[in-house]
Each structure stands twice: as C-alpha cells, then as structure tokens.
C-alpha cells in the first residue's frame, strides 16, 4: 500500500521532471539556436510548461500523497525516505507563497531583468536601482513568509544552499577578510607575472577544437552531451544521459574559452554522474549550488590551473597554437594563467580576488535584506567596498553595481555559493590526494580518471542523499573549513610569487 503510494509519487515526480526538462530543452534552444523573431512565442511556450509543472506539484492530490508518505516514512527504505523528506521540504517551502505573491514576484523579476538590460545599455544605474527597490522589498517579505531562526537572509540562502546559515557565512568571510586579504596584499607587492601571450590571436576553429579535446581529456562524455556556442557559457541537463555545455570564444583571449570549457565541464561531469535510476527524484539531483560549484571549480582551478595538468597537456596546446606559444614554456604558461591582479569585474577575476567580489556582494545583500541598507544607498556602498577591499575606483556603473544579473532576477543568497564552491573544492581535492595514491603523478601523465571515479563514488552517485554538510563530513571527516582553501592558495601562489623558480 505504502509502496504503491511511493510508486505513484515516483510517477508524478518523473512526469514533472519530463515537463521541466522539456522546458529546459526550450531554454537551451533559446540560448543556442533561436531565430530572432522566435523569442516572443517561445517565452509563452516555456511559461506554459513551467505553469503546468507548478500545477502538478502544488495540487492537493500531490500534497495528500506527500503527507501520507511522509507520515509513513519510517516504513520506507533509506533512499525512499530521503526522497520523500526532501520532496516534502520543498513542497512546504513552495506552498508558503499564495498565488498573489507568486504573480507579483514573476512580474517584479521580469521588470527587474528588463530594467537591468536597458540600464546597462544606457549605462544608467538609476533605472536599474528603481526596479531593484520593490524587488528588495519583496525579498524581505519573502524571508518573513518563509520564516527563519536567526537572520532573514537565512531564509533566502536556504533556496540555494540548504542548511547553510548567515552566521556560518559570517565566520567564513571573516577568515577571507583576515587571512586572504593579507596574503593577496603581499602578492601585489611582488613583480607582476607576464600573461601577454594569452592575448594574441587564437583562431576560432582552433580554439573550438582544442576545447573539445580538453573536455574529452577530463572525461566529459560526448555520447551523453554536446558543446555549443552561446553568449554566456552554461551547463544544462535534461537527464544524466544528456548534459550539455556551452562556451564562448574570444579570438584575442585564449583564457576565455579554455577555462570556461573546463569549468562547465566540471559541472557537466557532476550531472552525467548522477544516478539515472533516480530520474526526477531528489536523489537524482545535485546537493546544493555550493556543491555544484565545487565540481566546476575543482576541475577549473585545482586541476585545470595546476602545473601537473599543463605538464600533461601543454604539448597539445602547442600543436594547436604553435606560433602563439612557441616562446612560452610550460612553467611560464602556468605562471601566466595564474596571474593575480585585482579587477572590477567578478567574472574576469583571478581565483583569489574572486572571493572579495563575493564578500562584497554578501555584505551588501545581507544588509539589504536585514534592512540596514536601502537600495538608494547601494551604489555608493558598492563603490566604497570596492575601494576598501580591492582598492579600485568605479567610474562606470556597468562595471560596478550593474555588472551581474543576479539581483535583477531577484536572486539574493546565490552569490555566496560561488565562494563555497571554491572552498569545498579545496577541501575535497586535498582529501582526494590522500585517498588516491599518486594522484598528482597521474594528472601529470594526463590521466584524471581516478579523480573522476573518486568524485563519482564520493559525490555524484549520491545525488541529494546527504546534505552538503553531511557529505563534506562523510568525505573529509569535518565540516567545511576555510583552512583548506587558504593552504591551497598559499602553497600555490607562494611558489609562483615568493620562491625562486618553481
């Protein structure tokens, strides 16, 4: 009887997944293929699908089913129990909002997005901030509706990083402020590393072919995915057997395509490794944005910007770009791709300064949500913090408070997950080195298969079986600890900036 209900629950969730993944195909197609005039009707087609999915999930029929299963959860097996509990948690969260609120939110998000786009084109922050004001008010209301224990920001963070709290982020970013700023300031006093060779002309087709080859090298399965070009690189999945990545190619910048490929490849390896028998169920899904980002950053930075990785693949790069790289040896290449230099734009940042960009956003959005900062004062606050943490002046709001799309879409609590990703990545990678004998030698020999297998076994195959914190403790024996990132950063960048040679 309970098993019948569980089957019914599975059927409903898989139907939902069919609809939502179909919508995802429409979104992928929009970014990659859509003809100019096709946008308007495509938007309504996508909205219809999401609307139907929402109807099924919030139906009283599904509610009753979930509640009955949740009450009998102790009679289900461990995985079933976890699925039901996770679904129930999501259901409760989604059902706290009345229809009026949901409609208002969609409207403000849509207006926010269009205002942001227009404001960026006109380099006119006030247009953006005007649209942001009611959106921030709505998010404050949302936090109240959702409820929280200590801080209203907790309620919003829960959407992206379930179980993580504002207090924990405060501790983490205190470490960033004290330990990382200090270290980066030491680096800034050292002679600059040369990376001019990255800014030569790298032909489109050669970059494309090289990117595909690198994706193959790290284990991305092209029989269960494909790569295309889009304005902004992204990963999207329709099932573990169809996980697609996109990249962009700047012919005057070798870095833009290369590390975006490896980054998205890392996300995609996670999705390709999720258990397909749990299709549509929580256990078929990723743990949290922070854990997702740990996968992309582990491959992008801990592996893809490491010396062993390029000792393995630099010859390949040279066969694609013999002229451009002929006077650069592997070590100079390694140094160049790890140049530390403050920049105004988050997505162009090096892997250390990156966390100041996130720190700033975290402090600002926390203040906005708790009401200690108003949107009217946001731009000034933004500019002050860039001066304080990065010693940079912002002359142009497109390079300042308008550079990211997140707030315009109402995403508050999202930014910190990027930093969490890097910090988890460092902690996981350290553990992988302990667990896999000769991992670094393997990477040096161009073989990352044991690393992928380790990630599959320890992370990917579990889906949402464990929370981020449980997962981290299972794997590394402790909760997230900034120390691992700091050790990684110190070791890597000391050898680049403070020691003779390498």
């Amino acid at each position: 009887m309970l098993q019948e209900k569980y089957q019914n629950y599975t059927d409903q969730l898989q139907k939902l997944a069919d609809i939502e993944y179909a919508a995802a195909v429409l979104e992928w197609d929009k970014e990659v293929n859509l003809p100019k005039k096709g946008g308007q009707i495509r938007a309504r087609q996508t909205a219809t699908l999401y609307g139907m999915a929402h109807e099924i999930f919030t139906s009283s029929k599904f509610k009753d089913l979930l509640e009955e299963l949740n009450q009998g959860a102790d009679r289900l097996d461990e995985k079933q129990k976890r699925n039901v509990e996770e679904s129930h948690r999501t259901w409760l969260r989604k059902n706290k909002f009345n229809k009026e609120f949901v409609i208002k939110r969609s409207k403000l998000v849509s207006e926010g997005y269009h205002a942001w786009k227009a404001a960026k084109e006109e380099n006119n922050a006030s247009k953006f901030l005007e649209a942001l004001k009611p959106l921030v008010e709505l998010k404050r209301e949302e936090a109240e509706i959702l409820g929280y224990q200590e801080h209203p920001y907790d309620a919003l963070l829960e959407e992206f990083e379930p179980g993580y709290t504002t207090a924990q982020l405060d501790t983490l970013f205190k470490d960033v402020k004290t330990q990382l700023i200090d270290f980066v300031q030491q680096i800034r006093q050292k002679p600059k590393v040369n990376n001019d060779f990255l800014k030569q002309h790298f032909p489109h087709q050669k970059q494309w072919d090289f990117g595909i080859e690198i994706l193959r090298q790290i284990g991305y399965d092209f029989d269960a995915g494909r790569q295309d070009i889009s304005d902004h690189p992204f990963t999207i999945n329709f099932s573990p057997s169809d996980v697609r990545v996109t990249t962009r190619i700047d012919e005057n910048n070798f870095g833009s395509m290369t590390w975006s490929c490896i980054h998205e490849g890392g996300h995609a390896l996670y999705e390709q490794g999720l258990p397909s028998e749990q299709y549509g169920l929580p256990l078929g899904q990723f743990v949290s944005l922070g854990i997702h980002e740990s996968q992309s950053r582990l491959w992008e930075n801990n592996v893809g910007r490491s010396l062993p990785f390029w000792e393995a693949h630099y010859d390949l790069a040279k066969t694609y770009f013999p002229e451009q790289l002929k006077e650069v040896d592997a070590q100079a290449f390694y140094k160049g791709i790890n140049k530390i230099q403050p920049s105004l734009i988050r997505v162009e940042s090096d892997e250390l300064h990156y966390h100041f960009h996130i720190l700033i956003r975290f402090e600002l959005e926390k203040a906005l949500i708790e009401g200690s900062l108003e949107v009217e004062d946001l731009e000034i606050a933004w500019n002050e913090k860039y001066k304080q943490y990065l010693d940079l002046d912002i002359n142009n709001p497109t390079d300042g408070v308008m550079q990211d799309i997140h707030w315009a879409l109402g995403s508050f609590g999202y930014f910190p997950t990027y930093s969490l990703g890097s910090f988890y990545a460092a902690q996981f990678f350290e553990q992988a080195k302990k667990d896999i004998p000769h991992l670094i030698t393997q990477i040096k020999n161009g073989d990352t298969s044991s690393l992928l297998e380790w990630l599959r076994n320890n992370i990917h195959q579990h889906g949402k079986m464990y929370s981020a914190d449980e997962l981290c403790r299972r794997i590394t024996g402790e909760s997230l600890n900034f120390k691992y990132f700091m050790d990684y950063a110190k070791k890597k960048y000391s050898s680049i900036y403070f020691e003779q040679g390498l």
Copy 2:
C-alpha cells in the same frame, strides 16, 4: 457570454499548441542535436507532453465548451465559426477511439517502426511484413470505427486530405495511368540526357553556403527560422516566427542538397506565412498535406527546376562551383537536372516517374484496407506493379516494399497527398502566371517576390479557412484537374526531349 466561451476555447487551444510545439522542439532537437545516449529519456519526455496535450483536448470540459460553441456557431463571426467547426470535427474524430484502441495503435506503430528498421538492416522483408500484418488489421478496424460513405480507405484519407475521396483518387490516377504513362514511354525512347556533371565532388561547406543563399533567394526568412543538417530533410514549425528546415549534403551529388533545400524551403514559406494571430487555432494551420506539398513542389519543380530560375541563378552556382560547372552551360544544366529515368526508389525519382511510385502505393494500400490484398501477398504485388508500371525488377526488398517508413508507422492514405501536391502545384502555378504580369520574366531576373506574395495572399494567410477544394476553386475557378499537371509536363519535357535545342 458566447464571446467569453470563445476566448476560453482560444486559451485552451493555445495552451495545447504551446505543449505540442514544445514537443516539436524536442523532436527537432532529437533529429539535429541529440547525443547518442539521450534517446531513451527524450522519448519519455516527448511522450509525456503529447499525453498531456491529448488529456486536455479529450477532456469532458473541453468537449462541453466545443459543443456549446458549435451550437451557437451562427452567432460567431465567420473566422470564429470556421475555427470552432474545424475543432469540433477534429474532436469528434479523435474521440471515436477508446483508450484501449489508442494504446494498441501506439504499440503496433512502435513495433512496426522497430521491425522496419531491423528488417531493413538485415534486408529481410518477412520481419517487416510480420509486424505490418496486425497493423493493417488495425487500420481496417480504424476505418470501421471512423466510418465512411463509400470506401473504407476514405476514412483513413480523411486524416491527411480532409474532404478528398477514394473515388476522386481513382479518377486522378486513371489519368496518370493513361496520359502520363504514354508520355513517359515516348520520352524513354529518346536519347538520354546527360547529368553526369551532378555527380562530381561538391565540397560540403560550399554546398551548405549555396543552399543558404538559394533559400534566401526564394524568400525564406532566416530571422524566423534556421537550417541544420539531419539524416532526412524536414521542415518543422513552432510558430510562424520559428520555422526550421533541415537538409542533407552528399558531396558526390549536387542535386541531393539543392532541391531538398528548395523543397523544404517551399514548405517553410507556407508555415512562415500562416497568420500568427491565429496561433494554435485551425485558421493558424495548413489546409491539408496535399496543399502543403503543393507549396514545396511548386518551389522545387515549377520554379526550382525551371529554365528561368536557373537563368537567374546559374552564375551564382558557378561562383560556388567554378571547376565542376565550367563546361556546362545553363541549358545543359537545365536539361541535366530534369533527366527522366525510371528508378526503384521513390525519393530519388524524377518528377514524372514519381507519380507511378505513388500510383503503386495507392493501389496497394487501398487493396490492403478493403481486404482484397493480404500482407502475405504484398511483396509479390509490389514487385509485379514495379514491373508493370516502371518495367523494373526488384532484387532487394530494401529497394522494394521496405523502402518507405510510412506503412511501418501505420500511415495509410498519406502517399496520395504527394501526387496531389504536384497536381495542385501545376494548377496554382498556371493561375499565378495569369495573375502576375511578367512572372516568368521576374523569375528570370531572380525575383520571386511577387510569386511569394501571390501565394501569401491566395493560400498562406487563410490557414484552414477553406477546405483544399474550396481553396482551389477560389484561386483557379475549378476543382483539382490533372490537365494542368499534364500540360506542364508536356510543355516542359517536350522542349527538353522532342524539340531541337530549347
């Protein structure tokens, strides 16, 4: 009150359209992009969408709405009335089948398709015919369920060519048998035309670029569509603002890509010309398969294989393929692309022999449905007819009874619409020449815009406002008449085969 109901009906149908076009995006993606392992889950995602669309359309709520509107149809405006009547007609047809029958049909169609694929690979007709037998029985049952006035085949034809009857097809194909066979036999006695130049090496990228250019020339709007590569060329639409075509490229055959581009381009021009304000409603849809095919064939044959068209574009072809075409002048090219020669394969046939391929299929499927032929005897009957009408021996069932996918998918009554398309095209084109002063001169100057405008005004913009026969009478003053095709064929091929020079 009635207008409110009409609005409700419109909302329902547009929601249905959203779902069905979303499924179409998934199908397009499957043909063009899908990674190897993605097929299984994609199939269930697509099936879920079609299932939901079916549920909405066959719901008692929608039934009640349709019936109320249909009863009050005289108080609706002319277009609304037509929409409601068409929807009602479709509804009645779809609701004649019980769930059991629908499930059985899906199952047999799926088995038919897989058996056909496997049988083709093994060149083993019996495997295919085994699966076809229950499918034919089911189609006989389907005809009885649907009902008919004179002939069970009428009931199936209605799906593809509403309003056209078996008796009308008998008359039409009698003309084909008497007039066209006689003419083609005269041609066969004449010296063969040389088309060897089409079989040189034409590089992939050059063909691709040339195809895009030709599509642009005939007026295909790339802001409301795109072209891609797939195994079999097709046109698919998600709205009039997003109508996509695909082509295939054979580097050793210039014809394969070129006329498939123009053919699909003709289909696409029709879809791009449908009224977008009627999105999701019958008036936003094509009339019948025969009328759809008339658009592709008019562009492919009446325009795209005409001397004036190539007088306009042959220089362009020569800039793409200077070496390949250097010793071929426009007239030799024109003759070559219109070579008449019997072939075993329908889709490789010239535009005259083509109708014998259809005649054979029509006679066979009519006999199967009325029960005067059994599947056991189909292969022999097929081979005999190819001997009788085309004087060809079939040594290989993949080149014979297994060459087409249609029957394996349970599509009986579909084939004749291909011939109807050619015959309508000839009749329409003849009328266009009367209505548009200097049309041929315009085409010779590379300008087909008046022709497209004529098709937009006379056909495309009306959607399903008129039946195929009404439309034909409105445009040409009479019902479909084989005479126009025969005149076109005689004039064109006499000048190629019977007269000195051109």
